[in-house]
Subunit: 309 residues, 2 copies
C-alpha cells in the first residue's frame, strides 16, 4: 500500500514519523507545505521541510519539536553582538542545513533536488517532497495589516488578530511533478493547521483537482482536540475568523475533499455530527506525546484506510 | 602622532594590537590586506580583516591567532554530515560575522562600511580599513598550476611549490579613499608576509606612488627571524622563489619604499647588511608571544619613528 501524506511542521511531523515507522520507505511519500518558507539572513528557510527532515532523521529537538537536538546557540549570540536580526532562532547545527541549501539553490538545483540530497545524507529513505519548487509565501492578513507568515508566527508570536490568508504567487506555482497520485492508494492529511499548513498546499494549481479525481481514501486527522490545538495558532485563528473551535468545523473545512476523518477520543461526542457530513469517522487518541503514541495513531490511520478500501 | 599601519593576518595583527595599546584610537588607522578574501559557502570571507577585528576586539582565539575564542564547531560538524565543504574551518561564533557581512554586502554596503559597523559593535575605536572595496584576489602560481589563495593556504596547506603571484583584478581596483596619507605622520608595515599580505596592498593602483610621495618615516618590521617565519609560509615561499631566507632579503624586497627596518635580535649580525641598503635599522625582540611582547615591540617602533622624525 502506498500512502501520500500531506503535512506541515511540528504536529503533522509527529504523525509522519509514526507512518514512517509503520511503513516501508517506498510505501509513503511526504508532501510538505512550503507556504512558511522565507528568505532570512540570506538563506532560503523551509521550516516545515526542515522540521519533517529533522524528525524523520531522528535529530529533531524533542522539547520544541522544531530545530535540532544537541543544539548550541553561539552563532545567534554572536550575531546579536554584531547587531544582526535574531528574532528567528537558528541554532549552530540547524544553520548548516540553511547554508547548504542556499548554496545548492544558487547553483541552480530545485528545492526538491536539494531536499533529496539532505534527506539522503540524514539517512531518510522515504521521499520528502516540497509541494512545489516555486515560492508560494503565505501572507497572514491581520487587523494590523498583512504579515509574511514567519513575521506573524515567530516574530509577532501569533498575537495579531487574523482576518484571512493570501497564498501569494500561488497562481504561478507548479505542483511538484514528483507527487504521484497514480501510484497512491490513500492520502493522509496530517494533523496540521488547516489554514496555514494544509490550505497553502491545496491552493497550488492542480492539487484540489487531483484530490477530487483521486478514487481512494482521503483521511484527515483533526488538529483540534477538545476545542483547542495541541500546539500552534489553529484554535486562535478559528476564533478570530468567527469559526467555532470544534473538530466538526475542521471536518467541514475539508468537506468535498476528504471521505474520512479521525477525531480525538476527547471529542467522541462530536462523532455523530462529523458522520452527518457524510464522512467515515474514527475516534483515536490523537495526542502524540511519545513515539508509541505516534506509531499507535499511524497504525489506526492505516487500519482505517485498509478497511475503507 | 598619527600612524598608518599596513597589516595582513595573524603576525601583523600581533603588532597591530600592540600599537592599539600604545596609541589613542584616533592615532592609528589599520590598512588591511584583502587579497586573501574569497567567496565560500556563499559568504564573502575576509580572513585578514577578521583576524585583526577579533584581535583588536579581544575575542580572538589565543591558540590559533585566527578565529574566535570560546568557539564551538557544531555548524561545521553538521555541514560535514550534509556533505558540505569543510576544508575551510568556520566556527559557530565566527560564522555570525560572515552571515552578517554577506547580508550587508547584498544590501549594497561597501566592505569599508561593513567593517566599520562590525568593529563598532565589537568596541574597536581605531579605524580598520580594507585596502580596497574592490575584489583583488591573490592567485598563487605553483608548479601544480595557479591556485586561489585560500586553496593554496588552507586547503592545500601551503604544500604546492610557489613560482609566483598574481594580484588579479588589481588594475580595476581603487585604493580605499579613507586611507589618508595627508594626516599620517608615519607608516608601519607590520611583520606580515611580504608576498601575499603586503605586496597585494602595494599593487593597488595609487598605493606605491602614495608611499613614494610620503615624506615621513616608513618602517617595516621583519617577518623573518633567524632565517624562518614564526608562522605562515614566508620562508617556504622565499626558498621556492630562490631567495635566501634572511631578514636582509625582506629589507631588499621593500627597498625604495621604506626608510627604516626593524630586525629581530636573533638577526643582529645582519644589521650591517641592512644598513648598507641605506636604511635606518633597529634591533628588537620581534617574537611576540605575550601581550607585553606586542606592546614592547609597538613601543620600540613608535620610539624609532619619533627619533627619525
Amino acid at each position: 500500500m502506498k500512502i501520500l501524506a500531506l503535512t506541515g511542521g511540528v504536529g503533522g511531523a509527529k504523525l509522519a514519523l509514526g507512518l514512517s515507522q509503520c511503513l516501508a520507505p517506498d510505501e509513503v511519500d511526504f508532501v510538505v507545505n512550503t507556504g512558511d518558507d522565507f528568505k532570512h539572513l540570506g538563506f532560503h528557510i523551509s521550516p516545515d521541510i526542515d522540521t519533517l527532515t529533522y524528525t524523520l532523521g531522528n535529530v529533531a529537538n524533542p522539547e520544541t519539536g522544531w530545530g535540532r537536538d544537541d543544539e548550541t546557540w553561539n552563532f545567534m549570540e554572536s550575531l546579536e553582538a554584531l547587531g544582526g536580526d535574531t528574532w528567528f532562532k537558528i541554532g549552530d547545527r540547524d544553520l548548516a542545513l540553511h547554508v547548504f541549501r542556499q548554496q545548492q539553490l544558487e547553483s541552480g538545483k530545485t528545492l526538491t533536488e536539494i531536499t533529496k540530497i539532505i534527506t539522503n545524507q540524514l539517512g531518510i529513505k522515504s521521499r520528502v517532497l516540497p509541494v512545489s519548487n516555486d515560492p508560494v509565501p503565505t501572507i497572514v492578513e491581520t487587523t494590523e495589516g498583512p504579515l509574511p507568515f514567519q513575521h506573524y508566527f515567530v516574530r509577532d508570536r501569533c498575537k495579531p488578530v487574523v482576518t484571512g490568508f493570501q497564498f501569494s504567487q500561488v497562481d504561478k506555482a507548479t505542483l511538484n511533478p514528483e507527487i504521484d497520485f497514480e501510484t497512491t492508494d490513500a492520502v493522509v492529511i496530517c494533523p496540521s493547521n488547516p489554514f496555514v499548513s494544509v490550505d497553502p498546499m491545496l491552493a497550488i494549481p492542480g492539487m484540489r483537482s487531483a484530490l477530487h479525481a483521486f478514487k481512494g481514501p482521503i483521511v484527515a486527522v483533526s488538529p483540534i482536540i477538545g476545542g483547542a490545538a495541541i500546539k500552534g495558532p489553529t484554535a486562535k485563528m478559528m476564533k478570530e475568523l468567527k469559526i467555532p473551535t470544534t473538530t466538526v468545523q475542521v471536518a467541514k473545512h475539508y468537506i468535498g475533499l476528504i471521505n474520512c476523518f479521525v477525531i480525538d477520543q476527547q471529542d467522541h461526542s462530536h462523532r455523530e455530527a462529523v458522520k452527518q457530513l457524510g464522512l467515515t469517522t474514527d475516534v483515536q487518541q490523537t495526542v502524540m506525546v511519545t513515539l508509541e503514541d505516534r506509531i499507535q495513531l499511524a497504525k489506526a490511520v492505516l487500519d482505517l484506510v485498509r478497511n475503507i478500501r
